[in-house]
């Protein structure tokens, strides 16, 4: 079954989407969209370093993303520049550095388009293994850190006062994002990773009555976008990464229609009866 490139693409894409959805919720809640962009721009530097040092792409991208997020945490405390300026600085410096390093590697012929927009149809069984192991790790850590992370998202000081250690949760979240970007790069490419994080989560907002519910709905919406996008790209012969994002956008637009309200309304009137049980 794994011999078929289309099945492999489907498995890889759904694997990434299921992890990106819940994590994307935190990006939406904490308004970290630009931070996601920064990490994915930095991913190209990871690619260049992987060529230079001849190490695994995923590992190199993860390391660079992790260093960039920790650098951001450090600079936020030290520098007198606003966070969004710092993000812009880090994003484009890392991107430029990556391109310069790649230019020096004259013996390497890089398909830049593949990295920028992904090449989901070329995923190997090994890639799928990495996605599922990495994805399972990300989801487990996310479940483990969920309460402190969510509490800190709602109110940092309240979380700190009640012993939730929000600083630690914050660092863990950044490392999780670095991991997801590393494993998702091959699927949608560095320029579109943030879309896979944000769009399904934004879609889920209209359907969800609770944070956990929103995470699950985001995962489902992401998976639907992958399946829809892949079939779309097969049907119309369009590039698969961008088509997946377009499919996600389509779901988001659908969520703006009255449909979710109808669903949410049905649930709202139903919940108390179930919950009360008296």
């Amino acid at each position: 079954m794994l011999d078929d490139f289309f099945i492999r693409a489907m498995l890889a894409g759904v694997g990434v989407a299921v992890v990106a959805g819940p994590l994307g919720c935190f990006i939406v809640w904490r308004r970290l969209a630009y931070f996601g962009d920064t990490l994915s721009h930095a991913a190209l530097l990871g690619v260049a370093l992987a060529f230079l040092l001849e190490i695994n792409f995923t590992v190199a991208v993860f390391l660079v993303s992790a260093v960039v997020s920790l650098a951001l945490l450090f600079l936020q405390r030290k520098a007198t520049v606003s966070s969004d300026s710092l993000l812009g600085l880090l994003a484009h410096s890392a991107l430029a550095l990556g391109l310069v390093v790649l230019a020096f590697l004259t013996w390497v012929r890089v398909d830049l388009m593949g990295f920028l927009f992904g090449d989901i149809l070329a995923v190997s069984a090994m890639d799928i293994l990495i996605i599922y192991i990495g994805g399972a790790a990300v989801l487990s850590v996310l479940v483990w850190i969920w309460t402190p992370l969510f509490a800190a998202t709602v109110n940092w000081e309240l979380a700190e006062a009640e012993g939730m250690k929000p600083g630690r949760a914050n660092i863990v979240l950044m490392l999780l994002m670095a991991t997801v970007i590393a494993i998702a790069m091959k699927i949608v490419g560095v320029l579109l990773i943030t879309a896979m994080l944000i769009i399904p989560a934004a879609t889920a907002r209209r359907f969800a009555a609770g944070p956990e519910q929103m995470a699950v709905v985001a995962a489902i919406a992401g998976a639907m976008a992958v399946v829809g996008g892949l079939f779309g790209s097969l049907e119309w012969d369009t590039p698969s990464g961008p088509t997946i994002v377009v499919a996600a956008l389509f779901l988001f637009i659908l969520s703006l229609s009255p449909l979710p309200q109808l669903l949410a309304f049905g649930r709202k009137s139903g919940t108390p009866i179930v919950k009360e049980g008296n």
Binding site: W29, L158, E160, A161, E162, G210, T271, P272, K275
Partner: protein
């Protein structure tokens, strides 16, 4: 255990400095189990900062801050805004910093009168409703220490008294220590064991019992506009300099204000703190105390 006699939280000579200015300095504060301590003071006097130091949210830049090991804290911050991107119902909010027993959560919601709102989204609540939700959540944790930063804000006047009653009830029920920040200089909860008046430092402190038992105090609840009676009063003859030091009436300057420095304590005369508009022309925060001769 000997530990049980230790205070829940202790601040000693603690202060926080931001950009060369001391927000609050030289604070000594301890809260014992079962004790209600109220912080009062004008805007910007360092009430919230003091509470945050006690909670460990802010690290003191001088002095020390200590908490009991494994202290369970219930915190009602001064301001919590829920982003509209967050789908969060009251019921879910009750378990924000860890699951609490559902029976405790229901009891707390009933006691604060928000049980009917439990499936409502938090961000759709009014200020007063949300304030009660915050209190219910903190209560349901069965904390050792409850820290309430202006818990009656946005609550109408009769609700205010009810809330104060409820806070006293929490102390009586679960025996927790309570650190309460009052936004109103003139009204201090009757059940308070100790009042601390802050104005960049501890101006004065003591029990409000004498005041609470007085007729004037009781009429205070009825006629707030005529609230010339303070719970605890004192006199100032020193000026706080922007660097946190204190200039006394005799012209000497010391690092901070000690309780015995230039404070003349007496009972049953009012005091009013006034602050110059927008921190004053020269940025120096002044205090002026008005005596009401009795």
């Amino acid at each position: 255990m000997a530990q049980d006699t230790d205070p829940l939280i202790t601040l000693s000579r603690a202060g926080v400095e931001r950009a060369g200015r001391w927000l609050v300095r030289g604070v000594d504060l301890a809260v014992q189990p079962g004790e209600i301590v109220t912080l009062i003071g004008p805007n910007g006097s360092g009430k919230s900062t003091t509470a945050k130091m006690a909670l460990g949210i802010l690290k003191p830049d001088e002095g020390t801050s200590a908490r009991r090991r494994d202290l369970v804290v219930g915190y009602v911050p001064q301001k919590v805004s829920i982003d509209w991107t967050l789908p969060l119902t009251v019921a879910r909010f009750m378990h924000l910093t860890g699951r609490v027993d559902q029976a405790d959560a229901d009891a707390a919601m009933k006691q604060t009168g928000i049980h009917d709102l439990r499936s409502a989204e938090v961000r759709t609540l009014s200020g007063g409703e949300f304030q009660r939700v915050l209190l219910a959540r903190a209560m349901a944790r069965k904390p050792d220490l409850l820290v309430l930063d202006e818990p009656v804000q946005g609550v109408d006047f009769s609700g205010e008294i009810a809330l104060y009653e409820m806070i006293k009830g929490i102390r009586d029920d679960i025996g927790c220590g309570i650190l309460l920040i009052s936004h109103d200089l003139h009204v201090v909860m009757a059940a308070t064991d100790r009042v601390l008046c802050l104005n960049g430092h501890i101006c004065c402190q003591g029990t409000p019992t004498a005041v609470a038992s007085s007729v004037e105090y009781q009429t205070l609840f009825g006629k707030r506009a005529a609230a010339t009676l303070a719970v605890y009063e004192h006199d100032h003859d020193h000026t706080h300099l922007p660097d946190g030091r204190v200039r006394h009436s005799d012209g000497t300057v010391t690092d901070s204000c000690h309780p015995q420095d230039g404070h003349h304590h007496g009972h049953h005369h009012g005091h009013v703190h006034t602050l110059p508009t927008a921190e004053g022309v020269d940025g120096i925060e002044r205090e002026r105390e008005t005596h009401h001769a009795r």
